[in-house]
């Protein structure tokens, strides 16, 4: 067994993941408690989905929504029925809708620009239509949101442990006792003893083959490899709905993958969708401030995939439309969306001009998030099934399309709840076993001619893409489980340095997530709107499966449990 330099940390609250949710949790917790540590796999100033920005957040804007005749309950009901088809944690979505506006005011207080003189709406907000039937998605200067939030984290005396990948939770006496992880640069094992833990490590990416064939050319951050979900599962925490998946994940610019919801989203009000015959399949949203149209301005009855399958491809986003003011607005929104300013930087270098060129779109790899929303089941305080462990943002299960407001509000709530939990504990538990992590990482470190982590990454992506997408069924999922078992038994990964060790540890977590996904697939014997299709069970079965399907580890067994939403 090689010597790992072990660094011990002690705190009341350990927040795992320094994205939007983790930073908001640390900020709120830091206001209430002096002993908080925020752990991030990278640098929270540029980590997570909003590393280089987010330009939008939905909320309930009382003055505007009331003028539309939409109450808070109306918005919540819209989200529950239209977006989640009833399968959602109702207490949490109500909390998100009710308090997202407060978190927007927080961001403003932190120095972020949220209001604009050219807006004719109350509050001078730039609002667009996005997810709901009312006009409630705020566009704002969000490019540097992570840098702003990290500053606020530090201002509250929270310690930041960056470049540490948390791999496992510590558990003692039936409750959480902390977390343990690996320094991605220093190669040390960092043990965080804590009274309470918030898990906010985001969504599991890198499970599926990318359409471009480049592993790291993804819409969502490739650094997020389901580390939180894997750690929680190993610790006996109950995870729900991991079998749900959005296929395709989204659509993006082809070759150079970007987000922003082309041609809607950040590309309003200039973008339209056209097919290979120059027919409009998604019309333009009109200018902000002059919109008088119906409540659901998106699209025609044609879909991108439908047009491709009908032989009328390729699909393009044409953003050449609109006035100069529209173009300026669009350019600004893109610049503030994640990886958006980089899109401008690259387009400039390679001669792409939205006024002259339309951008071909292509579907993206499947995603276990947003509409899918798998993760730990949480109560109304964001507590998971393990006492003292809380989850927030994309990490949490059962809140489809919570996205940016979900991260900010659940982070805030988890911060408060975790501090309250820690308060009733007299001391920080110093126990907790992490032998399996030590075993795995020691073997990887000492292996002289080990297998490259990239081989395991390809193997995993092949398994997930081959057995969990187009030909999904109970028997295919079982083959997926058997294949991942084969990989676990036969891979002999080796790492020459901490960077490679981090990737080897990511493989351990991706395999864990894959197994959970396949087991859930076998157990859920139905198909369900967009988020779950089984060829051998093509019908929806509400009588048996209108539920959150939970699975958790009890000793060596996996136990399933259904929860009514």
């Amino acid at each position: 067994m090689p010597e790992f330099n072990i660094v011990e940390h002690t705190c009341d609250l350990c927040v795992v993941g320094g994205g939007l949710a983790g930073c908001m949790a640390a900020i709120r917790a830091g206001e209430l408690n002096e002993s908080v540590i925020l752990v991030d796999k990278s640098n929270p100033e540029r980590s997570g989905c909003t590393a280089t920005g987010t330009d939008h957040i939905w909320a309930y804007f009382p003055e505007i929504q009331k003028a539309e005749g939409v109450s808070l309950d109306d918005l919540v009901e819209d989200h529950i029925q239209s977006l989640a088809k009833g399968l959602i944690n109702k207490e949490i979505i109500h909390y998100i809708a009710a308090t997202a506006y407060d978190r927007i005011l927080d961001l403003e207080r932190f120095g972020m620009k949220m209001r604009y003189a050219d807006s004719t709406l109350p509050g001078n907000f730039r609002l667009q239509y996005q997810l709901h039937s009312c006009r409630n998605t705020l566009h704002f200067d969000g490019r540097d949101v992570k840098r702003v939030l990290t500053e606020q984290v530090r201002k509250r005396g929270v310690k930041v442990a960056d470049r540490v990948m948390i791999n496992d939770l510590l558990v003692h006496d039936g409750q959480v006792a902390g977390a343990v992880g690996y320094g991605t640069r220093d190669g040390k094992l960092h043990v965080f003893h804590a009274k309470a833990v918030i898990m906010a490590a985001g969504r599991p990416n890198r499970l599926y083959k990318t359409f471009s064939g480049l592993v790291f050319n993804t819409r969502m951050p490739p650094a997020l490899t389901g580390d939180g979900k894997a750690a929680m599962f190993r610790a006996g925490v109950e995870l729900i709905n991991m079998e749900f998946v959005s296929i395709p994940g989204r659509w993006s610019s082809k070759n150079l993958v970007r987000g922003g919801g082309l041609p809607g989203g950040s590309y309003q009000p200039c973008g339209i969708g056209v097919n290979g015959l120059d027919e409009v399949i998604r019309p333009r949203n009109h200018e902000m401030g002059r919109w008088q149209g119906p409540a659901t301005p998106f699209g025609t009855d044609k879909t991108f995939m439908g047009e491709l399958k009908a032989g009328r491809g390729p699909i393009y986003a044409d953003m050449s439309w609109g006035s100069q003011q529209d173009q300026t607005y669009m350019h600004w929104a893109i610049a503030n969306e994640g990886s958006g300013s980089c899109f401008h930087h690259l387009n400039q270098q390679y001669g792409i001009d939205f006024r002259k060129h339309k951008i071909e779109l292509w579907p993206l790899e499947p995603e276990h998030s947003a509409a899918a929303a798998g993760g730990p089941i949480i109560d109304g305080k964001c507590q998971t099934s393990l006492p003292g462990l809380f989850a927030a943002g994309d990490e949490a299960g059962g809140v489809p399309q919570s996205v940016v407001p979900g991260a900010l509000t659940m982070g805030h709530l988890a911060g408060e709840s975790a501090v309250a939990f820690a308060k009733q504990m007299t001391h920080v538990p110093q126990d907790g076993n992490f032998d399996t992590l030590l075993d795995f990482s020691s073997q990887v470190k000492t292996r002289a001619h080990g297998d490259a982590w990239q081989e395991a990454q390809s193997f995993i992506q092949n398994v997930m893409s081959d057995y969990n997408i187009a030909y999904r069924s109970g028997t295919m999922a079982q083959r997926g489980i058997d294949s991942l078992a084969y990989l676990k038994q036969n891979m002999r990964l080796g790492a020459a340095n901490p960077h490679e060790m981090t990737h080897c540890l990511e493989m351990r977590n991706l395999i864990e997530c894959g197994e959970i996904i396949f087991r859930g697939t076998i157990e859920r014997r139905e198909s369900r709107f967009r988020i779950f299709t089984r060829l051998d069970c093509p019908e929806r079965d509400d009588a048996n499966f209108f539920c959150f399907l939970g699975q958790r580890l009890e000793g060596e067994r996996v136990v399933f449990q259904k929860h009514t939403p």
């Binding site: 064939g213 070759n255 333009r284 699209g299 439908g306 990886s339 980089c342 690259l346 792409i352 060129h357």
Partner: protein, 97 residues
């Protein structure tokens, strides 16, 4: 290599190394950072944004280049978009398979 550092502008502050969410840079004090893991670049542009002297640009490998196609170019200030909108039937979901 995706990030390309202008050696004349770089003053070796290490900010790109500090910020990179993918940890692709190598850095030793007072030396120009190296791109140690170019294949792991996410093309987020944090290095481009945060370099205090604008010394970083990104290079796209060939298979990531956008192949341009001429836009239809709606005339600015006209209501051609409105005409198209009226001609189309509206529905909520547009990107479903």
């Amino acid at each position: 290599m995706p990030p390309i550092i202008d050696q004349d502008l770089c003053h070796c502050c290490g900010t790109c190394y500090d910020m990179c969410p993918q940890d692709i840079f190598g850095f030793r004090e007072d030396e120009i950072p190296t791109v140690d893991y170019p294949d792991e670049c996410w093309y987020c542009g944090a290095c481009v944004l945060d370099c205090p002297v604008d010394a970083v640009r990104l290079r796209l490998p060939l298979q990531m280049r956008i192949v341009p196609s001429s836009a239809n170019y709606g005339e600015p200030g006209t209501d051609e978009a409105d005409a198209l909108r009226k001609a189309a039937a509206f529905s909520r979901s547009v990107t479903e398979p």
